[in-house]
């Protein structure tokens, strides 16, 4: 971290990675920015928790329509899960490459991350389209409203993540590995991993429990 950055947040003495108890003054930007982003991610998880709670309380409100075990296909979901988890791993590879300042591999891994995200998204859209086609769209019942909203909100996050990945690819290419770009990349990877955590919960609560015999 440079002295320039430190001063922007009020740091006038030497940078420190201290205990957070404030004895040495303000933290450096390399601590502050990811910390703030973590807080944002946590608040995002609270948003999802509201959607999970809604899903849990409406899952049996099917209004005479289809129930979970008639709709979900474990195979598709398994492929989706594989694609998303693998993309997180690849995102980690991109971070390692970026830390080493390797432009080519960073870009390649970011593109692969994005492509795996696209695979996930395509499968999800296909699943949604299939449900709507058999008359199990979100307007059918409260259960389906909650299902489409919870899973769709995650999908919307993945879409936002893809736009972010695209922006980062362009930005790294145009500007190189500046400290502030590295911080942004770190935030992106936090975001991408957080989407995995949410997905694991969706996978369990919606699909696994929903397809129990």
């Amino acid at each position: 971290m440079s002295a320039t950055e430190a001063a922007a947040i009020g740091l006038t003495h030497n940078a420190s990675e201290d205990t957070g108890l404030g004895h040495r003054g303000p933290e450096s930007k390399s601590i502050v920015v990811p910390y703030g982003f973590w807080l944002f991610v946590l608040s995002d998880m609270v948003l999802f928790s509201a959607l999970f709670a809604t899903y849990a309380s409406l899952v049996h409100a099917t209004d005479g329509g289809p129930i979970t075990s008639q709709l979900f296909d474990r195979t598709t979901v398994a492929v989706e899960t594989g694609a998303l988890l693998l993309s997180s791993f690849v995102c980690g590879l991109a971070m390692i490459a970026a830390k080493r300042g390797n432009m080519a591999w960073t870009q390649i891994w970011l593109v692969v991350t994005g492509l795996l995200g696209l695979v996930f998204l395509a499968l999800e859209i296909e699943e949604f389209a299939g449900l709507v086609a058999i008359g199990a769209g979100p307007q059918r019942s409260a259960f389906l409203s909650a299902f489409f909203t919870l899973v769709g909100c995650h999908g919307a996050h993945v879409t936002a993540g893809l736009m972010w990945i695209g922006t980062m690819i362009a930005q790294i290419w145009a500007k190189g590995f500046h400290p502030h770009i590295m911080r942004r990349l770190l935030c992106l990877s936090i975001f991408w991993h957080a989407l995995d955590i949410i997905w694991v919960a969706i996978f369990t609560i919606v699909y696994l429990i929903g397809t129990l015999p």
Binding site: E27, V32, L42, Q139
Partner: protein, 668 residues
């Protein structure tokens, strides 16, 4: 092309909203023109609108809050007038569909666009100064937060002129707020405005939690932070944990309305009580998001004007955090009548009563701080004492309401409405008025007129009791809330007393404007040359009034609690200031129009969504995304204030402080 927007959206047949909005538009245009004639536009744009300075952003929040106070209070007066006229045979002057919009707008505006911006504005202005640092963690995001809040306020007020506002009450309960029963754009205005300002509020939460936990002056450990910083931290933790739930809930209602989903509808398996639960999971912590910072203000005020350290600092901190946590465990007391059963109701009733314990701890701490102190009866101290009296009464009626059997009787009655006005006015409004008076000299370099300030206090205090204590009685007599017409003529005397109370408060609000103008005109008589007009104890009084852009030339070293007080006593004892440090270049964040442009596109998108103008909504979203990418592409992040300039400003401050020091003696 224009979705559902037609000329019929303009209320040509309703004189009240039409004339009001024309007057407002003309007034705003007049002010804009006047500022243009004076050549102030570049100054306003460069120094305020695009500012990333937490002090400027704080002031802008408070200006927004004061404007919305006027708007929200106009609604309140109209309601009081209607209820004091429409008794028995008379129908008053407001038809039900208009009256319903007014009470909805009143609640929405007062909570989201008056109280929230006011406390967030005070946090913005005060917290970095009290922590002894130069800015918040994310200065640009701070500016974005403000403009998104302003964007929400704009949309709510736009509904006066284009279309209508919700007629559902300030929390838009379904099924009434569903498309089947509220087909107009009113609820959409409500939903979209709150979604946009809600994003701003969550970003504020991120910003302040990060600032307080990660950016403090050297030596400012947690247990040395002023209590206002603690309560700000607690309030912002609540924002982070509660506002996303609001976002999710309102989004679900939007999906119901726009796309025919069945979350809260009567048919399709929807469950409107789910909305009640979700909205109050946000709604109850929201009460404390407003009240906790107010408690922090009282702590600062009582300690300063009693000339004593805050009694029981640690217990104050623990009480704050206890309230922070318990506030998430009481939401069901807003609808005991849902019929969740005796066990559930008892649990939430007891939890609600328990929250009175840490609050009581706070009250005793303030009382004991005053005990044995040399209390100066300044305006903020008036508010603090008025608060303690009023808030205890409001708290007691709250404990009454926390008993499910009692609640079943007074649920949704005027008793309830009196209770929450008692706590919101008694704690939050008194608190922000105290904070406004207390920190005004720090912001502008002169104090507000004391005599007028005391009159304003008495207007609020007496006006509140006249306006709301009859309502407790009315509630027991069976008056439900939101009555457009009163059929029982025996209630008339109570309603007329309430009307008088509202007029007394009106006098207070008018005098607040008068006080501001008068204080600006006569500021030479009340200049705060030292930067420490109240003999303060926290770090904001260390720097000059108004503080330089960078707040502190060198970040203060904190030794012990009451950072500034300790430093002041040391200086008096040693008869000299601290050693002059070596000055260095200071880098401060650049100003940026990102926030205001983003909010422009957000308003555009919001308006388009309300009126189903889908192409415009897409244009707005693309615009907002493009602005963010454009901002992310910047190369210049900071500008430098050279060491020589810092030294010059700081030496002037030291000269002033040196002279002040000669006049000070160790307090007995």
């Amino acid at each position: 092309m224009f979705g559902e927007l037609t000329w019929e959206a303009i209320p040509f047949d309703q004189p009240i909203p039409l004339i009001t909005s024309l007057v407002v538009v003309l007034a705003l245009a007049g002010i804009a023109f006047w500022a243009w004639r004076k050549g102030w536009w570049p100054y306003l744009w460069n120094e305020w609108v695009t500012s990333t300075d937490h002090k400027r952003i704080g002031v802008m929040y408070i200006v927004l809050a004061l404007m919305m106070l006027v708007r929200g209070f106009a609604d309140a007066l109209m309601m009081r007038l209607q209820q004091s006229l429409a008794i028995g045979a008379s129908q008053g002057y407001l038809p039900p569909e208009h009256y319903d919009q007014i009470f909805t707008a009143h609640g929405t505006i007062m909570i989201f666009f008056m109280a929230m911006p006011f406390v967030i504005g005070l946090m913005n202005f005060v917290v970095p100064l009290q922590l002894g640092v130069r800015d918040v963690a994310f200065p640009t995001m701070n500016n974005v937060s403000f403009w998104l809040t302003a964007s929400g306020a704009l949309l709510v007020n736009l509904s006066l002129f284009i279309g209508e506002f919700a007629r559902t009450g300030w929390l838009a309960f379904p099924p009434l707020s569903e498309k089947a029963f509220s087909p107009g754009v009113g609820v959409d205005y409500y939903l979209v405005a709150l979604q946009i300002s809600g994003v701003g509020t969550v970003l504020t939460g991120v910003n302040f939690v990060t600032t307080i936990l990660k950016i403090r002056a050297p030596g400012m450990s947690y247990m040395r932070m002023p209590v206002f910083c603690w309560t700000t931290l607690a309030a912002n933790l609540l924002i982070l944990a509660a506002f996303p739930v609001l976002t999710a809930t309102l989004a679900m209602l939007m999906l119901d309305r726009y796309l025919g989903f069945h979350f809260f509808t009567n048919g399709g398996g929807g469950n409107s009580m789910l909305y009640m639960n979700l909205i109050w999971v946000w709604g109850h912590p929201e009460v404390y998001i407003l009240a906790l910072p107010a408690f922090g203000i009282y702590s600062e005020v009582v300690s300063t004007f009693s000339g004593k350290p805050l009694f029981g600092y640690r217990s104050m901190v623990y009480a704050t955090l206890a309230i922070c946590i318990i506030s998430f465990m009481v939401w069901l007391h807003h609808f005991f009548t849902m019929g969740a059963g005796a066990d559930v109701n008892a649990l939430f009733g007891i939890a609600s009563m328990i929250i009175a314990v840490p609050t009581g701890v706070k009250i005793f701490n303030w009382l004991f701080t005053m005990y044995g102190g040399r209390v100066r009866f300044t305006v903020p101290m008036h508010y603090a004492i008025g608060f303690m009296l009023t808030f205890v009464l409001g708290g007691l009626t709250g404990v009454l309401l926390a008993m499910p059997p009692v609640d079943f009787i007074v649920h949704n009655s005027m008793f309830l409405v009196a209770h929450f006005h008692n706590v919101i006015i008694g704690a939050v409004v008194f608190g922000v008025m105290a904070g406004y008076t207390y920190w005004f000299p720090k912001a502008f370099g002169f104090t507000l007129d004391e005599r007028l300030g005391k009159i304003i206090f008495w207007c609020w205090f007496i006006g509140f009791y006249l306006a709301w204590f009859p309502a407790y009685a009315l509630g027991f007599m069976g008056a439900t809330r939101r009555l457009q017409h009163i059929s029982d003529p025996s209630w008339a005397p109570y309603l007329h007393v309430e009307m008088v109370g509202a007029l007394v408060i009106l006098a207070g609000i008018v005098l607040t404007v008068v006080q501001l103008l008068y204080s600006i005109r006569t500021r030479e008589q009340r200049l705060d040359v030292t930067g420490d007009p109240w003999d303060g104890r926290t770090l904001e009084w260390l720097t000059l009034s108004p503080p330089p852009h960078f707040n502190f030339a060198v970040l203060p070293d904190v030794h012990g609690e009451e950072a500034y007080w300790t430093r002041k006593l040391t200086a008096i004892r040693d008869e000299k200031l601290v050693e002059e440090p070596k000055y260095e270049d200071i880098e401060m964040p650049l100003n940026t129009p990102t926030g205001v442009i983003c909010a422009f596109f957000a308003s555009l998108t919001g308006f388009a969504v309300i009126w189903h103008i889908w192409w415009l909504a897409i244009v707005g979203l693309i615009g907002a995304f493009a602005v963010l990418v454009w901002y992310a592409w910047r190369d210049e992040h900071e500008h430098i204030i050279p060491a020589a300039k810092v030294a010059e400003l700081e030496r002037e401050r030291r000269r002033i402080r040196g002279e002040l020091l000669k006049t000070l003696t160790v307090p007995t």
